[in-house]
Symmetry: C2
Subunit: 432 residues, 2 copies
């Protein structure tokens, strides 16, 4: 396109999630040097993370090393590190270990994290679900709760261990509630002698008036119906007002439970503020129509870290399709500038939304059409298999799902880091 000259411009991409990875790949043939920085060594297929939490899939099924994904892209280099600040005037970002990375173009795609809306003391009581480590921690708490119930003599405390509260009725909360209930109901009963795991209560609490609010038209009610059929209790319009290690508080009502999972909200990672950029109340960087930062045409922000509001009622939701489309679009606009072509304002193409509720149950909106039940579930399976980032994962996830569906016995029911005693040096009681 344009003559790169002797030195090719450097594009630093911060974040190897959907947005950052898409941007890196979109620049594969471009006359630029790509440096992708992430604080984890792996790209994570977040939409299936809840299946690691429910012991159906293993971490390796839904994550792959970023280096591995980009190994054949000659102009790309991967750096393991966390960008914490930078100097936009000097065109460099700083890593937590003190190194500086110089750039000609910067694409910020660092994503979001669980947010407790000012109640950070809840973080330890109610883990969120954003990373593989989060998922393994939820799996550990979920499986350990049945162990504790099995050995508990006091029926009241036993009921507390067999009550699981999921806070937040977005897609993550809905899918997690469905799969935890189905695991309790279908997979675990024969393993235990004293407790009825199928009677475990799974309660989904949503502060707003409906779950899956952004799915629109009737699907919210159908999702409630589907969840209730498999035994999930859905509480709408009931914000959590407090929690401790034995209960959640819903206004005047106290629900005794030993396991609370947080799916109620996220905020952007604090990188926007760290770079001195204008952010909204969730820490998202306010971007121009072309996805760049006002006053810095060489800096783009995509995905969960961006607040894109142009022509909309509010910012675009923090979902994978938005990140993917923005990552590609930012790369396009960057190439346009290199080629002295004008940039184009970003336009989101909403292809729909879908969420599983359980075996053979899902809700989906594709274009203007709504599906529920088995057809929606099959569509969900197919689309998520196709979206998995590499061929390997598709094959193995397909077989894990087939196995789990035919046997009801998912394979990954392991309690790791069991308390603090995990290693072979025999410290304290495993179950404590």
């Amino acid at each position: 396109m344009t003559d790169p000259g002797p030195a090719q411009p450097t594009v630093v991409i911060v974040g190897g999630g959907f947005g950052g990875l898409k941007a890196a790949r979109a620049l594969a043939e471009a006359p630029v040097r790509v440096v992708l920085v992430d604080r984890q060594n792996h790209h994570l297929f977040q939409p299936l993370l809840y299946q690691v939490a429910s012991a159906t899939l293993s971490p390796a099924d839904i994550a792959a090393p970023i280096r591995h994904i980009l190994r054949t892209q000659e102009n790309a280099e991967v750096v393991l590190g966390e960008v914490i600040s930078g100097d936009l005037a000097a065109r460099q970002v700083r890593l937590a270990d003190g190194r500086d990375l110089a750039y000609d173009f910067l694409i910020l795609a660092a994503g979001s994290r669980s947010s407790y809306f000012g109640r950070d003391d809840w973080a330890g009581l109610a883990p969120g679900l954003k990373t593989l480590e989060d998922a393994l921690e939820i799996r550990r708490r979920f499986l350990l709760a049945f162990e504790r119930a099995e050995r508990e003599e006091d029926p009241e405390i036993r009921r507390e261990w067999l009550t699981f509260v999921i806070v937040g009725g977005g897609a993550t909360g809905v899918e997690l509630a469905g799969t935890l209930k189905e695991t309790s109901r279908l997979s675990l009963p024969r393993d235990f002698r004293r407790i009825r795991t199928d009677r475990a209560r799974v309660i989904l609490v949503e502060a707003g008036p409906s779950i899956l609010a952004n799915f629109g038209s009737g699907l919210s009610e159908k999702a409630v119906d589907g969840l209730e059929r498999i035994g999930v209790e859905v509480r709408l319009g009931q914000p959590i007002t407090g929690m401790d290690d034995r209960a959640v508080q819903l206004g005047g009502e106290r629900i005794p439970t030993r396991t609370i999972i947080w799916a109620a909200g996220v905020s952007a990672v604090p990188l926007g503020a760290g770079l001195g950029l204008p952010v909204d109340r969730l820490g998202r960087v306010i971007v121009a129509p072309d996805l760049s930062v006002p006053g810095h045409p060489e800096v783009f922000v995509v995905g969960d870290l961006a607040a894109f509001t142009h022509g909309l009622n509010g910012p675009l939701p923090g979902v994978a399709p938005v990140a993917i489309q923005q990552g590609a679009w930012a790369a396009e606009n960057l190439l346009a500038t290199l080629a002295n072509r004008p940039r184009r304002p970003f336009r989101y193409r909403d292809k729909g939304s879908m969420a599983t509720l359980g075996r053979g149950r899902a809700v989906a909106r594709v274009g203007g059409l709504s599906f529920t039940g088995y057809p929606a579930w099959l569509a969900w399976l197919f689309i998520h298999l196709m979206l998995l980032v590499d061929f390997r994962s598709r094959v193995f996830v397909f077989f894990e799902w087939l196995w789990a569906y035919l046997t009801t016995q998912p394979r990954a029911r392991l309690i790791l880091r069991n308390g603090d005693q995990a290693s072979s040096k025999g410290r304290s009681d495993g179950a404590d």
Copy 2:
């Protein structure tokens, strides 16, 4: 066999490894109540643990919940907890959480742990390989070393990161050295831009005069030859005399390295002493020919926790076949006593030994015959697949191996608990 009377005797089994699980299953049809206690929720197929450390297999491939394995055994109950002491006169053992379990018969099968022979300060510098958590920690250090080397400018420090020292030339050390070298050589090179991962040094250090010493007749030399062909450096007769976080000391020689793995020895878990039983210098309980504890015919000890020396030059080795055969034998002797039949002294049937060195390379002794190379490797694959505890794992491990063999790209190359920042709350630099 015998009339159980109104109350069936209770058999408490401590440990759900090879010995304890075999004993539990051997009592499936017996007129007894079986209570199996383990501090982990899963049975672990230890012979393949090194493949989790080398990122080929996932934890769920080689571990299954003990409850799940015993779910259809009506007379068995599983307890998650750690036995730390007991009162043999009162016939009860105590768990770390304070509960007491009463028994009529006790089978101790609690296994072994990494032993640093009085140098416990080495434990943090050189992790052992006994648990899934150990394996994930070794995987983390192994993969992170390449990340650190990739970003290091100082060639000397870079070489330290690309040097891996494995201490101990038993089967664990040999297999680990082979697989880590092959991963560096075959799987990783294309992922990195600045380092040559195929030039990483893997050094296997053995204090004694030979590796795989108990394999006998010529296989030790063949194993050295096989390892050296794929590039592993083997040091014989060189005990480690010191280590710090930048080197190991071999007598007068200092080998700079940032990654040390301990496969040099194990000792029994301290349960024997905790119960006041006579133990040898490695903490193993000295057992009578029928595997019971002298003076306590109702207490059996099997596997790594037992020192069985009768008619032998020294105690039996701490390997899976010994534990399995002893577990079955202890159950038989227990049933004999219930049926008023005499007990039989344990006899070990040594079916052989085998270890992989790399792709298509292994050494094996089966009966009086020795094999090496491809035939030994195929035999190893087949036997280990057959020994995997349940059908599910066999299927998935088969496909993982097929995948890794055909592509040289094992799937589980994930760095988890990346420093301390792993969760979604963005703390310090991932790579520190």
